[in-house]
């Protein structure tokens, strides 16, 4: 395959979700939101959350950024639905560790879904692209208006 040398970072799922995000919308009704900003590269994301019965019922986002940041935001929006804020905070920690080290604990379905992003750990300048949406998500959960990946 002529692109084998490029696939370690840009796996098909990243290209697909980077190009055609499923959750890249501003929710019509939301109860929490925050912006994320990477001042070094200009990537921007805003995350929207709607809670119901103590869980995140739906997540959406608007992003301007690279394929990594958009795909990360999209997969994040997918896996946080149906989870409590506390569960999401644990997941965010696990994701950040995976983005930095390339390793994650086995067995968690959500982390399996996010695993294609583990390749960023070999690109220190790109780790922030993957973690930026999560910074914004945590800021939204904490009731803050925004987050920086710095």
């Amino acid at each position: 395959m002529m692109f084998d040398d490029l696939r370690d970072l840009y796996q098909e799922v990243i290209l697909d979700h980077g190009r055609r995000p499923r959750h890249g919308i501003r929710l019509a009704a939301f109860d929490a939101s925050a912006k994320g900003d990477n001042p070094m590269c200009g990537d921007r994301v805003q995350v929207f959350l709607r809670h119901a019965d103590g869980l995140v019922a739906e997540a959406g986002f608007e992003a301007r950024g690279c394929a990594i940041s958009v795909a990360s935001a999209d997969l994040m929006a997918e896996v946080v639905a149906g989870r409590s804020d506390d569960q999401i905070r644990v997941l965010a920690d696990e994701f950040r560790d995976m983005a930095r080290t390339g390793r994650s604990a086995d067995g968690d379905a959500a982390m399996e879904r996010l695993r294609p992003l583990a390749g960023v750990h070999e690109y220190p300048s790109r780790v922030k692209c993957a973690t930026l949406p999560w910074h914004a998500l945590l800021a939204a959960l904490d009731g803050q208006g925004g987050a920086s990946s710095e």
């Binding site: 692109f3 040398d5 590269c41 200009g42 950024g65 690279c66 394929a67 690109y123 790109r126």
Partner: protein
């Protein structure tokens, strides 16, 4: 074209052999380094000069009454002479060493801006400045009541000269501070015209020559400029040293920037007096080793000669505009008539960071992002671009490799 009149072509392979780093491999591939506008690689002559000084001839300058200090002072001051010859300064005392271009601009913003401009006066910059030539003037504006005016550029990426002149008409502009060559668009500004018009309206002119001096001979007397700044590390020298050139009468009249050792005449608790220029502006132990490296870099550049450098890079730039611009879905940003060896571009369907990462996977180093020029990006309607920039060691084959790699990037994101 008369072939006989062309400058002697560079022996690029002989030049490349002088850069140890160019024989490194990256991700298993030969390094294709197309990020010289961010910082250039260093030739053996610069490396050896700095190592030699540390091994054989080093002490602090301007204060020791011993052999090592005297010899090191000669080296440090010798670089001042080399800089003066490089830019054809009339007087070696007009050369002030700073940390980098940013340090030099901040010096002028403080010592000329606060020291000699009056609240209500204005500074004019252009819409294609590096942040280093924006933020110091914003700080001056906010601290000292100076108005900051921005001269627009055309869609081609050239200074809108008529609009620029309009900004000067009320006679309130004390200083025009403008790039000599854009780090994003490659555009050369029409320096002589800028000076003529600015002086006609009573404004001084500072050129940010960080990019320009790498690619073309700079003659501050011919430009008739008032200040010219550049940095060593883009000119094949070390980091940590930059240059401010200023007209002697201006530097003499300006108050100091940083206070401390080496910049004083005498010190009592009641008051201190200042040393003569340039030492008035060089507080503290300077970048001694870096000055020695910069001196070696200037000698090295002068040995090659700006005619040969400019001809080589003009050829590279023409080749790059044709090859990169010829890749379907790749858009070159900026179409200035007079331009240097910097080519910014976007790729349809791919963010600049993804482009840079995919090029890096193929061993090609480019920069991607806003290039420390966010307002220019907004003017262009872009978040970011990728940028290939060239040095004296860049080859046509490296540009071909970039074009080939860009075809793959396009296919990858198709």
């Amino acid at each position: 074209m008369n072939v006989m009149s062309r400058p002697v072509a560079l022996d690029v392979s002989a030049i490349r052999a002088q850069f140890p780093i160019l024989s490194e491999t990256v991700r298993g591939k030969p390094l294709v380094f197309l990020d010289s506008a961010a910082s250039a690689q260093k030739p053996r002559a610069v490396i050896d000069a700095m190592v030699w000084a540390m091994e054989h001839q080093y002490a602090n300058v301007h204060r020791g009454l011993h052999w090592m200090s005297e010899r090191t002072t000669e080296s440090y001051e010798g670089t001042r002479d080399l800089v003066a010859s490089l830019i054809n300064a009339r007087d070696r005392h007009e050369i002030v060493f700073t940390g980098n271009s940013t340090g030099a601009i901040n010096l002028v913003a403080h010592s000329y801006g606060r020291g000699m401009m009056k609240p209500g006066q204005a500074v004019v910059i252009s819409a294609m400045e590096h942040h280093s030539n924006i933020v110091p003037w914003q700080m001056l504006r906010d601290a000292h009541g100076i108005e900051l005016r921005v001269a627009p550029i055309t869609d081609a990426g050239e200074l809108d000269f008529a609009a620029f002149e309009d900004l000067l008409r009320d006679g309130r502009v004390g200083l025009v501070s403008i790039t000599h060559m854009s780090n994003v668009l490659g555009t050369y500004t029409p320096a002589e015209r800028i000076v003529a018009v600015a002086h006609a309206y009573g404004a001084k002119v500072l050129f940010d020559g960080s990019q320009a001096i790498v690619h073309r001979r700079v003659d501050v007397q011919a430009l008739n400029a008032d200040f010219y700044v550049f940095t060593g590390h883009k000119l094949y020298g070390p980091t940590g040293i930059g240059v401010l050139w200023g007209r002697r009468e201006l530097l003499d009249a300006m108050p100091p920037f940083l206070g401390g050792g080496d910049m004083i005449g005498s010190v009592t608790y009641e008051r201190s007096t200042w040393a003569q220029v340039p030492h008035k502006f060089e507080a503290g132990t300077p970048a001694i080793l870096e000055s020695i490296g910069l001196g070696a870099a200037i000698r090295w550049v002068q040995d090659i000669g700006y005619d040969a450098i400019a001809a080589h890079e003009a050829s590279l730039t023409d080749h790059a505009l044709a090859r990169i611009g010829g890749v379907a879905g790749v858009n070159v940003i900026g179409r200035a008539q007079d331009r240097g060896g910097v080519v910014s571009f976007t790729v349809d369907g791919a963010h600049a960071h993804d482009v840079a990462t995919l090029l890096d996977r193929q061993g090609i180093a480019v920069r991607a992002g806003h290039h420390c020029a966010e307002p220019l990006m907004r003017r262009l309607g872009l978040d970011s671009t990728a940028r290939a920039s060239f040095g004296v060691y860049t080859t046509h084959e490296e540009i071909d490799a970039l074009a080939t790699a860009l075809v793959r990037v396009r296919e990858f994101f198709a």
